[in-house]
Chain length 335, copies 2
DNA sequence: CTGAAAGCGCTAACAG
DNA sequence: CTGTTAGCGCTTTCAG
């Protein structure tokens, strides 16, 4: 295994110059740099990460804390962040925290300590203690989908977006609008469901509709949960003519229940989702599109800002957009 | 920032003993270990990753090379691998290679060099040069979903599983069976599509059915591709009564096309997918289930075997299973 | 089982 | 712009 000394010798420079040349520092003549680079190529030399890291104090790695790596939303955010970070020469280390135990272990042991130069946290609303633990790391932190004092974040306006969804329904004449939501309390203490519910309530209020607790069905952000939640609404003496599902996955489940019950979509019941999941088009689901890859990219950029001592934006709110497809339509003529 | 010296001093041992105690080596008395651990806890000390890595030559990290982080299959494999590796104290570093350029850059520059203790490669059929580059790393490598000489792999039997899918259709009396497949050549040179196609051909042969090129529609493993591919089959003078989609995502697209064309499922056309995607249940799709999380877990275990100098299995083939749902049924009475 | 001391292979400060 | 040199903070012999 060649060392930087071998490279330096072959290029007839000192190890310091070799190091500078290989790292692309400006204080090296083009000629010297070329010689060093050629020597490195010939010897098939790369700077060993650990030695460089020990000497410089940097790890060139970013940790990403994520509840569910396998879910579309998180995978897409990760992909966006990874691309930007890789471009900047940073590695992405994944820390999955699928349940409360894993999360507690993460914040307790803080395996990112002395291990990464920055941390990205996806969707987890931090407790005061968790936020404090991250701040104590003394490395840049960026949140996606949640906020905390003094920590930059990237997110969407869930309340406004949900209201936009429900307004689409009221605009179509619907008055009895169901909500497919999250359990209470939500897993991980997620705050997104609450915000989306508030958007639902706001849009109802705007339309002068009295909210009806019976029209809210909880379950979770999965298709299976959406399926059973929709079944409950359908069993109501007077079922809704439209439902707002807090996630597209739930909406998919709801569509299944409706189809199986031979309920016309959107003739009898309209369904709107949230996310613009990659399969929403295939299911012809009207939904609120949120920019997911972009959230990962922007979060990575905020991290880079901080790593380069540029002041980062404190709170980036990306836009959402109604995507009209076939699952929503005018309310059935008033009964 | 406390160092191991501070811990050693406080525990009244040498730094060597402190190091041994903190790493859980057996050659330390329980008493000494307890003293050291208490001192470390009091000082809030953790072994700095880079110093440890430089001194020991190990990085305690595993690299995972993956084409599409955001797709369900890959995200699920990553989650499975990450859980096992984390348990073993290893970090997972993600290397996304969504396109040929990124892939070339990865194998050219080999950013994993001197950076990880082992590498996991997902679904990429390695060229001879790529396999050689990985071997030259001199670290354990495990493949998921592809194979290469001398590199352990975890996978399913795509041919058998696809044949199983198509046999399900022939068993239901179908004789005109369409195939929704991948483009030729497939992206990344994926070999999975070819194997699944061979399974399709085998099952047809078993049933004495002459394959018909017109019944094969290519497009890619996405819902959008499945949608248009299905439309092409439907436009045939004599369309199939059943289709085998190489992935559930394609099957979802096919279902959309069929529904929109008001073709009865399965009354007029049966659809079977492949994967048992998390949304397959919501779409009532009959499919071949493959154990995805388990593939990630097993791959991680094979890595651990190698890292601990245990001979790993060379080729682990996990089982698949037919999951009957509502999208397949008996062939329409012979015309 | 424990300690002393020699690296691991760079990077950064300083000097020129 | 380039060279010298002193660490970075552990882990690992080698002794005892």
């Amino acid at each position: 295994m060649p060392s930087i000394r071998d490279v330096a010798r072959q290029a007839q420079v000192s190890t310091a110059t070799a190091s500078r040349a290989l790292r692309g520092l400006p204080s090296v003549t083009a000629q010297t740099r070329a010689r060093v680079e050629r020597a490195a190529a010939e010897l098939d030399y790369v700077i060993p990460f650990n030695a460089s890291s020990l000497a410089s104090g940097r790890t060139n790695s970013v940790g990403i804390v994520v509840p569910y790596v396998s879910r579309w939303f998180f995978g897409t955010v990760i992909a966006g962040a990874e691309a930007v970070l890789r471009e900047a020469g940073l590695d992405l280390v994944v820390y999955g925290v699928p349940d409360a135990a894993a999360r507690a272990r993460f914040f307790d042991r803080l395996p990112v300590r002395r291990r990464v130069d920055a941390v990205l946290v996806l969707s987890l609303p931090l407790t005061a203690a968790e936020a404090e633990a991250l701040r104590a790391l003394r490395v840049p932190v960026v949140l996606v989908g949640s906020t905390a004092d003094g920590i930059p974040s990237v997110r969407i306006d869930d309340l406004a977006a949900a209201a936009q969804a429900v307004r689409h329904l009221t605009g179509l004449g619907h008055r009895r609008i169901g909500l497919l939501g999250e359990t209470d309390p939500p897993p991980h203490g997620f705050t997104t469901p609450g915000r989306r519910r508030n958007g639902y309530l706001r849009a109802l209020a705007e339309a002068g509709i009295e909210p009806e607790p019976a029209l809210e069905a909880a379950g979770g952000f999965t298709a299976a949960a959406g399926e059973t939640a929709m079944a409950r609404l359908l069993a109501l003496p007077s079922p809704p003519t439209a439902v707002f599902a807090m996630s597209d996955e739930m909406a998919f489940g709801a569509l299944k229940t409706l189809r199986r019950a031979r309920v016309g979509i959107p003739a009898e019941v309209s369904v709107i989702g949230f996310d613009d999941h990659e399969l929403a088009g295939a299911l012809d689901l009207t939904t609120i599109a949120q920019p997911v890859t972009a959230q990962g990219e922007r979060a990575a950029l905020l991290l880079l800002d901080q790593l380069h001592d540029r002041p980062p934006a404190t709170d980036v709110v990306l836009g959402t957009e109604l995507v009209r497809r076939g699952s929503t339509g005018p309310a059935p003529a008033a009964r």
